[in-house]
Point group: C2
Chain length 252, copies 2
């Protein structure tokens, strides 16, 4: 503590309160919403909880904040350990959840992050070994625009998943943030491989916004934006006319 100085009664009161309150400490965790887009739908990595509380429910990958570690670094650790991701993706802080009863064991304040990953990286990763306890769940957003609210997750067969704690709300916040940022930042490219067609880019935009977009406007706007450049190559393996491949021109 600082050395003693002359204090007013008010300052003494303030310091006394500080000492008392300093005893009340919380566990701080970081949960990460790892998002990708496949066939026009957003998806997120979910883990099945093996233990109580919320045993059997699906939850976001998370971990405890350690001493001398930034929140950012905790998120990186979670991404590496629980999703096998170590670099080449975008992530940022989302929102902090601190309801006193959100975890029945003890007071837990959770700082949520979200990460955007191209689907190939995750599918590779999640294909290793048995997947009974991890999956790329498909998200369904029951609201438009940035209204926010909890959202639903389903497995590959379309079966609705029970989400643990307040994680439906955290997923909702992630989608809300994506929708808000889509217009004025370049997040969409983070959900695509290095080269992509305009159709794929439009599908990602539509998956985020949850609504169909006008093809003519979309192409005009994106081509005029300077954010993408043609590679001169065509996509391969289609059943129909192959499209031009583009590349994002950004400071990744």
């Amino acid at each position: 503590m600082a050395k003693l100085i002359k204090r007013s009664a008010e300052e003494e009161a303030f310091l006394a309160e500080y000492e008392v309150e300093a005893f009340e400490r919380s566990s701080v965790t970081v949960d990460v919403v790892v998002i990708t887009a496949i066939d026009g739908h957003l998806r997120a990595v979910l883990y099945r909880r093996p233990n109580a509380p919320e045993k059997g429910a699906w939850s976001l990958p998370g971990g405890f904040l350690r001493e001398d570690e930034t929140l950012h670094r905790t998120a990186e650790r979670v991404l590496e350990r629980r999703a096998g991701l170590s670099e080449g993706f975008f992530f940022e802080q989302l929102y902090t959840f601190g309801a006193p009863d959100r975890d029945p064991r003890t007071r837990v304040v959770t700082v949520a992050y979200y990460a955007l990953v191209e689907p190939g990286r995750l599918q590779e990763r999640l294909a290793e070994g048995e997947q009974a306890d991890v999956q790329l769940a498909t998200l369904t957003v029951p609201w438009l625009g940035e209204q926010a609210g909890p959202i639903e997750a389903a497995d590959a067969k379309g079966k609705k998943l029970r989400l643990a704690f307040d994680h439906a709300g955290i997923l909702g916040m992630a989608v809300r943030r994506l929708r808000g940022k889509l217009m004025y930042t370049s997040i969409a490219y983070r959900l695509l491989p290095e080269t992509f067609t305009l159709r794929e880019l439009q599908q990602v935009h539509e998956a985020i916004l949850g609504e169909a977009l006008n093809k003519r406007s979309f192409r005009r706007r994106l081509l005029a934006s300077g954010e993408i450049e043609p590679t001169g190559k065509l996509e391969e393996g289609t059943d129909f006319r192959p499209a031009q491949l583009y590349r994002a021109v950004l400071g990744w």
Copy 2:
């Protein structure tokens, strides 16, 4: 704690890890950026720190998260105790700061909130008693749009203030958020009294965005938005032609 239940070996292992990590706990505080707009400039409530660390520097009002209290409620408590505000204003969570060295005393994770208040409420409050240790500092934002970054604060005489900890960055996040929300939400009215002129409304928009707006477009857009309605009254006490007074029509 929950009552004991039968556990598998795997569950035991999980709980053991949980117990270990549960020892690493942090102090959680809530700092609030209380913002208003006066004469085309954003302002924020700042307190002078009476003690080390950062003695003499200016800081955001804040307080510790208590047991059984939501983050939201902590913010309310800070607003009431440190700014005299108990209702009738907007506030929401901003961002969470958790660098290990941001407070030299102990590990402190701070969840920042911001509140929007009409200037009358604050000036009333801050006028009570001596103001040597609290003030409505004027903010200067050295960047455009939502680039983000720290911002500067100055006192009534224009003298630059030294800001404590990472509070310049927190203020920057608040302005960034305001700029982002201005276009698609009704936050501007939260910085104005119940009735206001279109000039005052435009000045608030300009203060938030940090740039001049086109008068014709601004009026057209706001009048067509359905967000405001005329009161039929005129402003009083001007040196020139008095303007119509409007009222926001929102779910406050």
